[in-house]
Structure formats: C-alpha cells, structure tokens
Amino acid sequence: MSPEQLSAVAMLALLLLMVIGGIHLAFALMFLALIFGLIYQGLALFPLAMLKIYGVMESEILIAVPLFVFMGTVLEKSGVAEGVYQSLYELFGPVRGGLAFATVVTCTIFASCTGVIAATVTTMTLLAVPSMLRRNYDKGLATGVVCAGGSLGILIPPSVMLVMYGPMANLSVARLFAAALFPGLLLSFLYLLYIGVWCWIRPSAAPAIAPEDRKATGRRLLLRVALHMLPSFFLILAVLGSIIGGIASPTEASGVGAFCALIIAALYRRLTLENIREAAYTTLIVTTMVFFIIIGAGVFNAVFLYLGGGTLIKNMLIALPLGKWFILAVMMFILFIMGFFISWQGLLYVIVPIFLPVVTSLGFDPLWFALLVCLNLQMSFLTPPFAYAIFFVKGAAPQEVTTWDIYRGVVPFVVMQALGLSLCILFPEIILWLPRVTLGGG
C-alpha cells in the first residue's frame, strides 16, 4: 500500500470515528476532504472542490428532491392520511388484526404519494398507535407495524432516495422508480402476510373492533373508502403514472405533484398560509441537510479517489475468494453495518460510489444492484438499536410504549425485509420486469 492509499483508508476510518463521536456528517466530510486535500493536492484542491459543488448545483435531476419533500410535507398537513386511515379502519376493523392491516395499506398508499419517511412515520404514529392501543393491541405489534409501514416511503416511488441514486450512479431515475415499485409492494404484502399469520396464531395480540365502532356499513362504507382514496390515487396517477409511463421527467412530475398536493390540501380545507409556511421551512431544513451531505461527500470522494482509495477497495473486494455472490454479500453486509452509524444519504454518496466499479466489473446489472442497495438501506431504518423509524415512533408514541416494546415489535418486520431482499436477489425479475416493459431497453 502506498502512503496515499494508506491516507485514503485513514480518511474512511476517521470519518467513521468522527460520526460515531457525534460530529455532523456533512461537516466531518468537508473537514476531512479539506485536510487530506490540502496535504496531497495543495491549493489545487479548491478549484476542484468548487467545481464539484457547482456540479451539484447544476443538476437537473436533483431539483426533484426539494419538490418531492415539499409535496410530502404539504400532504402530511392536508390530513389526507387521516381520511384514508379512518375509512380503512372501519373497513378492516371487524377482522382480527384489522387495524394493523389498515395501517400497512394506508402507509403503502401514502408512500406512493411521498418520498420521505419522517413525516409518514410521525403522522402514522399519532394516528394509528393510539387507536390500536385502545383496542388492546399488543404494543410491539402496534408500533412495529408503524415503523415498518412508515419506512416504505423511502422505497416505494416517488422516493428521494431513488432520485439521489440516479445522478450518482448515472442511472435514469424513471427506470429506478419503475424498478422499485414491485419490491416496495412485495414488502408491503409480506408485512400484511406476517400480521395475518401472527393474528391467527395469537388472537389476543390484535382483537377485532366492536361492531358499534363502525359509523357506516355496507355500500355507504365502501363509498367513503373510495372517496378518501380518490385524491391519493389521482396524485399517484399524475406523478408516478407519468414518470413510469415515460411521459414526464421526475423533475417535471415533482413540480406538478407539489402543485397537486396544494390542491388536495385546499380540498381538505387545510390550505392556510401557516401550513404552507411550515411546509416550506421543513422542506428547507430537510433539503439543506441532504445537500450539505451531498456536497461534502462529493468533495470527500474526489480527494479519496485522488489518493487511490477507490482502486484499493475495488482490488481488495475483487480479490475476495468464493466468487462474485460472496463479494455481493460482503458489500451488502458492509452497507448494512455502516447503516447503523452513517445516515443513508452519506452511505449513498460515500460508500456506494466506491462499490459501483466492483459491481460493473463483476457483471451485475447496475439497476438491480441499485434496488438491492435501497432495500438494504431501508432495513437500516428499522434495525435496532439505532434506527430512525424507531426514534420517530418513540418520540410520537404515547408514554406507556417503551423502547423495548418497539424493538420487540420491529424484529419480525426486519425478518420480512430480509426475506424480501432475498427474494429480489433470487428473482431479479421482481425488479427488472416493470422498467423493461414500460421504458424499454435492457
């Protein structure tokens, strides 16, 4: 190993150390790039860094990030999730585990309308957890299902994670969206399956609600369900439909989607200046946080690659024994473990770019690999002890719910995610079929 490569390894090690120590990821990235860049490149670092930053600013695709975040926060404030959940609650309520089913279905629909998880998880915790606990649902099940369902938002398109993956890996975001649809729905289906089986084994975990809790029945109830679903389906058609159908670019669809979200908020009579203001400020903070990480990672990676760190890691991975499937497993394992410490935005822009040349040289399909990465990162939202979804649920759930309840409840869903990931590895067509059919090409 040359001294440069040794420094590259030191950069990664120091990054991990700093982040675990509690330093903001974005600033740790910029600081390390600055120090190592100045040592090895001198002042030539600065024009390079500026060009990297300007490159992010000029990106046509990333424009969709703030607009999708804005769309999600506006929808969250519009109360559309309450409407859907309330109507499904009455529809599924009389069945054992019905409220958990309603939660997963609401989350899936909401996930197809938004691209971030924080908003969904918090909304659903406030909405679904109290109603399930009141019906004597098991605390673990009640919170676990919200963690799992709420995290679907980052996987099911439109997803900010996929928008960010596209330009980083030179993949079309439209193809990524199309590829992510079935894996996302597969997870949602596996969650429903688990709830069904578990409630059949242990009826006391999720009792049915009493008949008098249903305000409407029969045809009137179905009409109500349909009425509340209408705005969401309209939005899904306008945004997802136009992207996967190849009519509009993700950026165009994100602008239209944000506008549609405002209209939906107006229909629910929640379009106040205060709500728009709050949505705009939330969008600003989420977007800025993400983009400072992207900028920091861009400069960090430029220095890391300059030092030969990329080649070093590529050679180390390729030299591993036991063939390419083992190498894939090792990469997945590294991402999974690092997901405990580095937020997904950082992993996506620091670690994944290092892996991509390995993936290409092993002959894996980059689109397929992209979805495996996203499924994997999605698992890190749920896997105890450090998981964003768990923190969000703990923060918004009633006092009586302990962190242990959530840990206990979330584990079966992590197992389901692992199962979903394995299925996607065994049957690549789950990922690759839809983009090939709607967008053509290999």
Partner: protein
C-alpha cells in the same frame, strides 16, 4: 451579545428567503411543463432558472439549518456528556468543523465567483447563455452565512459557559 443577535437575525432572514424559494421553483417547473407538453414550445430559460432557484435554496439555507440544529448527527456519545460537556464539545465542533471549513470554502468560493464575474463568463446547458457570476456567487455567500452562524453559536456557548445568560 448584540453580535449573536444580529447574526441570528441574518440567518433567520436568509432562511425565510430560501424557504419561500420552493414556491417560485414549483411555479417555474409547472410553467415549463405546460409550455413543453401542452403548447409544444419549451422556453430556453426554464431549466436554468430552475436549478438556480433550487441551488440558491440549499446554499443559502445552510446557516438557518445550523441555527435550527437541522444538520444530521449521531447523539449516542453526545448524550452521555453533562450539559457543560455538551457545550464545550459543541464549541469545539463549531470552531474546527464549521468556522474553519466555512472560512476556507468562502475564500475559495470568492476566487471561483470573482473569476466568473471578471471574465464575464457565460455558460450554457441548453440554449440560453447565462452569466455564471450570480450562481457561482451563491457558493461563497452560502459558506459565509454558515461560518457566521457557526461563530454566533460559539459566542453563545462561551457566554453560557462563563455563566452569563443566553444571548
């Protein structure tokens, strides 16, 4: 503590400005969609205007996000520290990781933007040759605001550590 209040105010203003940019950004994208898909007459300036609005949003939003503690960090180790320990730790981070980094990047950004202004550089991504000076200026401006807010956080923490009241 007047300096801290002034800097906080600047960050709030820049935050408000960049937060509201999402509305014109949405409208320009919508306008472009209508022009392209329904009138079949895309504009030459639409796309470039979009990225300038979006990049202004996050470049100028850095300081406000720092003020609102919105930059992501892991707080396992941090939470073990005593309140005093947290203040000292934060002060160190803001000094080394925010002010120093922002300082270097502001300086580099000024050179980057000045070159563009002085040479009257015009760039093009589609068919509109836009002057690159204004958008390049966002880089030093953003890092300057970020560094200032970092300084304000340091001064505030030092004041609390010395036993003074929060500024």
């Amino acid at each position: 503590m007047r300096l801290v209040r002034v800097i906080d105010r600047i960050s709030q203003w820049s935050g408000a400005f960049s937060a509201w940019l999402v509305i014109p950004l949405m409208l320009v994208v919508m306008h472009e969609v209508v022009r392209r898909h329904f009138l079949n007459a895309p504009t030459g300036w639409g796309y470039d205007t979009c990225w300038m609005l979006y990049s202004a949003q996050f470049m100028l939003g850095g300081a406000y996000t720092l003020l609102k503690k919105g930059h992501i960090r892991i707080d396992i180790v941090y939470n073990i520290l005593s309140p005093r320990g947290k203040l000292i730790f934060d002060t160190l981070i803001y000094t080394i990781f925010v002010v120093v980094v922002a300082g270097f990047f502001t300086w580099a950004g000024i050179k980057f933007a000045a070159d563009a202004w002085l040479s009257g550089e015009r760039l093009s991504t589609t068919n509109w040759f836009f002057p690159s000076g204004p958008s390049k200026t966002l880089i030093p401006l953003g890092f300057l605001l970020l560094g200032l807010q970092g300084l304000a956080e340091i001064l505030r923490n030092l004041a609390i550590l010395k036993g003074g009241r929060e500024g």
